[in-house]
C-alpha cells in the first residue's frame, strides 16, 4: 500500500499525487513507470514516475481523470488515503548521456513524464530546449518546473490563450528549418502529437525518441497487451520500452490498439458497491 502524502489540483481534471513508495523511490530512474491498482475492484493502470525523492521515499504521479479508474482516483482519493498497489519501477530508464542540444517536447500531461528526463539531461550538461503544449492555458502544467531545468522554454497552446498559438511541432519545425543543431528530440504526449513530432524530425534525420503509452495489464512482460510494432518487429512496451525510436514506431497501429476497450470504457464502473465512492 502507498499512502498519499499530498494531492494538488494542477489543471481541470489533472491532479498531482505525491505518494509514499520507498522501494520505488529508492530504485527508479527517469523514464520509468509504475503500475497502480487503487483498490480491490480496480484495474491495473500504468503511470509514469514524474518525480521522485529518494531521501523522503516518495514519488510523484500526475493523473488526468479521463476514464473510470483515473476519475475514481482523482475524485475519491485524498491525502492520507492508501493506494492499494504501487509496483515498480518498471520499464527501461531513459538513455542518459551528454548528447549536446536536446529538445524535449511535452504535450498535455505528457509534460510530467518529460520533466525528470529533461532534468537529468540538464544535470548532465546538455543544452535543454523544452517545448510544452496544451489545448488551452488552463491545461498547462509544470511550466515553472520545466523552466527551471531548461535553457529555453517555449509554450504553445492550440487556441493561443498562452504562449504562441499552434502546436508543439511548429517551433520544432522552425528550429529544424533554420538549421539549428539538434542532437536529440524526446517527445511524450498524446499519440497523435508524438506521431507528428516524428514526422517533423524525420526529414532532418534527427534522432527522436517517444515514450509510448500503450494499454498495459501486468507491466512486467508476461502478457503482451502493450505490444507495438517497432521497425517491423513486435516489442513489449513495458519491458522493451517504453521509449523507442519514434521513426521506427507504427503509430497507426498504436492508435488503433488504444481503441480496443472504447465500448467497455464508456460503461460506468460500479466498483461493486463496496468501495468508498459509495459511502461518500
Amino acid at each position: 500500500m502507498a499512502k498519499i502524502i499530498t494531492k494538488a489540483n494542477l489543471a481541470p481534471a489533472v491532479y498531482e499525487f505525491v505518494v509514499d513508495a520507498p522501494l520505488v523511490a529508492h530504485k527508479c530512474h527517469p523514464g520509468q513507470f509504475v503500475i497502480i491498482r487503487t483498490d480491490e475492484y480496480s484495474e491495473r493502470i500504468p503511470l509514469t514516475i514524474a518525480d521522485f525523492d529518494r531521501e523522503k521515499g516518495c514519488i510523484t504521479l500526475i493523473v488526468q481523470a479521463v476514464g473510470n479508474t483515473t476519475k475514481h482516483l482523482c475524485d475519491t482519493f485524498n491525502e492520507g488515503d492508501d493506494i492499494l498497489d504501487v509496483v515498480g519501477p518498471l520499464g527501461h530508464p531513459s538513455e542518459m548521456g551528454k548528447f549536446g542540444t536536446v529538445v524535449v517536447v511535452g504535450g498535455g500531461i505528457g509534460v510530467a513524464p518529460v520533466y525528470p528526463i529533461a532534468r537529468a539531461y540538464h544535470e548532465l550538461g546538455n543544452k535543454v530546449i523544452s517545448i510544452i503544449g496544451a489545448r488551452d492555458k488552463d491545461l498547462v502544467i509544470w511550466q515553472d518546473k520545466m523552466a527551471a531545468i531548461s535553457d529555453e522554454l517555449i509554450l504553445t497552446t492550440d487556441n493561443g490563450s498562452a504562449g504562441r498559438k499552434g502546436f508543439v511541432t511548429d517551433p520544432l519545425r522552425e528550429m529544424l528549418e533554420a538549421g539549428e543543431k539538434i542532437d536529440l528530440v524526446l517527445a511524450i504526449g498524446p499519440v497523435i502529437m508524438m506521431k507528428n513530432v516524428a514526422a517533423t524530425t524525420k526529414p532532418f534525420g534527427v534522432k527522436t525518441t517517444a515514450s509510448l503509452n500503450t494499454i498495459m495489464v501486468d507491466g512486467t512482460g508476461m502478457c503482451g497487451g502493450c505490444r507495438v510494432m517497432v521497425g517491423g518487429e513486435n516489442k513489449f512496451a513495458c519491458v522493451d520500452g517504453p521509449e523507442f525510436d519514434a521513426h521506427e514506431v507504427d503509430f497507426a497501429n498504436l492508435v488503433m490498439r488504444q481503441q480496443m476497450y472504447k465500448d467497455q470504457e464508456a460503461l460506468e464502473y460500479s466498483c461493486g458497491g463496496h468501495c468508498k465512492c459509495v459511502e461518500e
Binding site: Y41, V217, N234, R257, Y261, C271, G272
Partner: protein
C-alpha cells in the same frame, strides 16, 4: 475391497457450466470418498508414491480416509504437500500417481487426486487445518524466494518448516503465480488457492507483493544488502509466444496470458463490477492445444462467445492438454479444428480481427522425438470466420532476471541452468520450476521447489 471401477466425480452439467465460472467438478461426498478409499490395496511396495513428485505417503492417507480419520489423512498430506487442494484438482494424475496404481492394470486406478482434494476440502471446511505446526527450531538465517507460484510456495513452505526465516517476493498484487492468473476459477477457485497460501503465512513466511525482482531489487541486492543467505528463483515461464504472422497486432488478438490474466486475476468476468475490461468475440479461435488453450477456449465460451474453435496443427492424439480437459471442452461445445495451421490474421478497416487464414496440414514422418511432424498441404488455405484470436502456443522465461543478473547462466532458450537439486552458476542462488524446465506442470514445479529447499538447507548447514 470393492470392484474395479472408481467412483465418478459429480460435475455441473455441460450446458449449465459453460455459462458460469463456478467450479465444474463438485468433489466427492464423504460417502463417495470413504467408498473409493476402500478400493486401495495398501500395497506394501506402493508404486504410486514414487511417481508423485513430492512423494506423498499415498496408501497411508487413503487408509485414514477409509477409516474416516480425515484429520489424520490431512496431516499426512501436509507433511509432503504445501497445496493439496490445488494438486488434487490440477495435477495430471494419469501420468503420475494414478498412472502407476496397480488397480489400473486391469481396471481403473484408485482416484488418488479426487481423494486428496476431498481431504483438503474437508479440512478447510471443518477448520481442521487451523493447527499449523510451528517449526521446532529457528535457524536464524534468511532465505528469499522469488516468485510465488507453485515451486516458490513449496520451497518457502518446506524452508519455513525447517526453521528458516523466509520472505517470498511476488511481482503481481496477489501471490500464487499461474494458480491465480492462469488456471481459471472454474477449474481452481481462487479462494482455495488463497486459503492454502494463508497456511504459509501461519508458518511465518512473509509475502511481499508488488515487488519485481530485477527492478525493485536485484538478486545481488537481496544477498548483499537485504541479508539473505540464499535465494530461490521460481519465476516461471511467463513470457507469451506469438506466431510472428501478419495481423497479430489487430484488435481482438490476445496472448492466452493476457486473456486469462484479465479474466482470472483481474476478474474481468465480473466487469463492470470489477474495472478490468475484456473483449470477447462472437466467434473465437484459440491457437494451440495445451491446457492453457483449453482454459482459454472454455473461458471464451463462458464469456459468451457463440462459437469457439481450437486450431491445432497436429491431430488429437498429439494434443498436449490433459484428456480430461479436452473432454470437458468438447462437452461444453468447443469445436476442434485439427491439422490446421494459422498463416495470417485478417482484419477490417478499423483494425479488428475478421478472419483467421489457415492452411490444412497432414502428418509426415516421425521426427527424432517420435512425434509426426505436420506438413502443409499446398493450396489448401481457407479463411475461418472469427472475430477473436487467442494465441496459446506456449510461453518462455521472462528475461528480466537474466538482464539484471548477468552472471546467472542461462541456456539458449533463456532458461536458468540448474542442477538436479536446483543449484545455479551463482553460489547460494537456486532455481526450479518452469524457469528451469520451460513450461511444465504445477506438480513438477512443486517437486523442484521441494528438492531445492532440501539443497538450500544442506548449503546453509555447511
Amino acid at each position: 475391497m470393492r470392484g474395479g471401477m472408481r467412483n465418478a466425480m459429480p460435475e455441473q452439467p455441460a450446458d449449465v457450466r459453460n455459462k458460469n465460472f463456478q467450479e465444474v467438478a463438485l468433489g466427492y461426498t464423504k460417502e463417495m470418498a470413504v467408498d473409493e478409499a476402500q478400493r486401495c490395496l495398501n500395497c506394501p511396495k506402493p508404486r504410486c508414491v514414487g511417481s508423485c513428485p513430492v512423494n506423498i505417503d499415498i496408501p497411508k492417507f487413503i487408509h485414514e480416509v477409509a477409516q474416516e480419520n480425515f484429520a489424520e489423512a490431512y496431516k499426512i498430506l501436509k507433511q509432503k504437500s504445501t497445496l493439496p487442494a490445488v494438486c488434487g484438482r490440477v495435477c495430471p494424475q494419469e501420468n503420475q500417481c494414478e498412472g502407476k496404481c496397480v488397480l489400473g492394470i486391469k481396471g481403473e486406478p484408485v482416484a488418488i487426486g479426487r481423494l486428496e482434494r476431498f481431504v483438503a476440502d474437508y479440512a478447510r471446511e471443518h477448520g481442521l487445518d487451523n493447527d499449523v505446526e510451528a517449526p521446532a527450531e529457528r535457524k536464524g538465517k534468511k532465505v528469499a524466494v522469488v516468485g510465488s507460484g507453485p515451486s516458490g510456495l513449496t520451497c518457502a513452505g518446506d524452508l519455513a518448516k525447517m526453521g528458516y526465516d523466509v520472505t517470498m517476493y511476488e511481482a503481481l498484487h496477489a501471490a500464487g503465480g499461474v494458480l491465480m492468473y492462469g488456471i481459471p476459477q472454474f477449474r481452481l477457485p481462487k479462494e482455495i488457492v488463497q486459503h492454502e497460501i494463508s497456511a504459509l503465512k501461519k508458518l511465518g513466511v512473509k509475502i511481499v507483493v508488488d515487488a519485481v525482482i530485477g527492478r525493485t531489487f536485484t538478486i545481488k541486492e537481496l544477498m548483499e544488502e537485504e541479508g539473505f543467505s540464499a535465494v530461490y528463483v521460481g519465476t516461471g515461464a511467463g513470457l507469451p509466444h506469438f506466431m510472428q504472422i501478419d495481423g497479430e497486432n489487430l484488435n481482438g488478438v490476445y496472448s492466452a496470458n493476457e486473456f486469462l490474466t484479465r479474466v482470472n486475476l483481474m476478474k474481468a468476468y465480473e466487469f463492470p463490477n470489477y474495472a478490468t475490461p475484456v473483449y470477447v468475440g462472437k466467434k473465437a479461435a484459440i491457437v494451440g492445444a495445451g491446457n492453457v488453450a483449453m482454459d482459454a477456449a472454455r473461458t471464451a465460451k463462458r464469456l459468451g462467445a457463440e462459437q469457439v474453435y481450437i486450431v491445432y496443427r497436429r491431430s488429437e492424439e498429439e494434443m498436449p492438454a490433459r484428456k480430461e480437459e479436452i473432454g470437458h471442452a468438447k462437452e461444453e461445445g468447443i469445436e476442434l479444428r485439427l491439422l490446421n495451421n494459422p498463416v495470417a490474421i485478417l482484419g477490417d478497416e478499423k483494425g479488428w480481427v475478421n478472419g483467421l487464414k489457415c492452411i490444412k496440414m497432414e502428418l509426415g514422418e516421425a521426427d527424432a522425438s517420435g512425434r509426426r511432424s505436420p506438413v502443409a498441404i499446398a493450396g489448401s488455405e481457407y479463411v475461418l470466420d472469427v472475430d477473436m484470436v487467442v494465441m496459446a502456443i506456449g510461453q518462455g522465461p521472462n528475461p528480466l532476471i537474466k538482464q539484471t543478473t548477468p552472471d546467472l547462466e542461462v541456456n539458449k532458450r533463456g532458461n536458468i541452468v540448474a542442477d538436479e537439486a536446483g543449484a545455479t552458476s551463482i553460489p547460494g542462488v537456486f532455481a526450479g520450476g518452469d524457469i528451469v524446465t520451460g513450461a511444465a506442470t504445477v506438480i513438477s514445479a512443486m517437486g523442484a521447489g521441494k528438492k531445492a529447499a532440501a539443497a538450500i538447507d544442506e548449503y546453509l548447514s555447511k
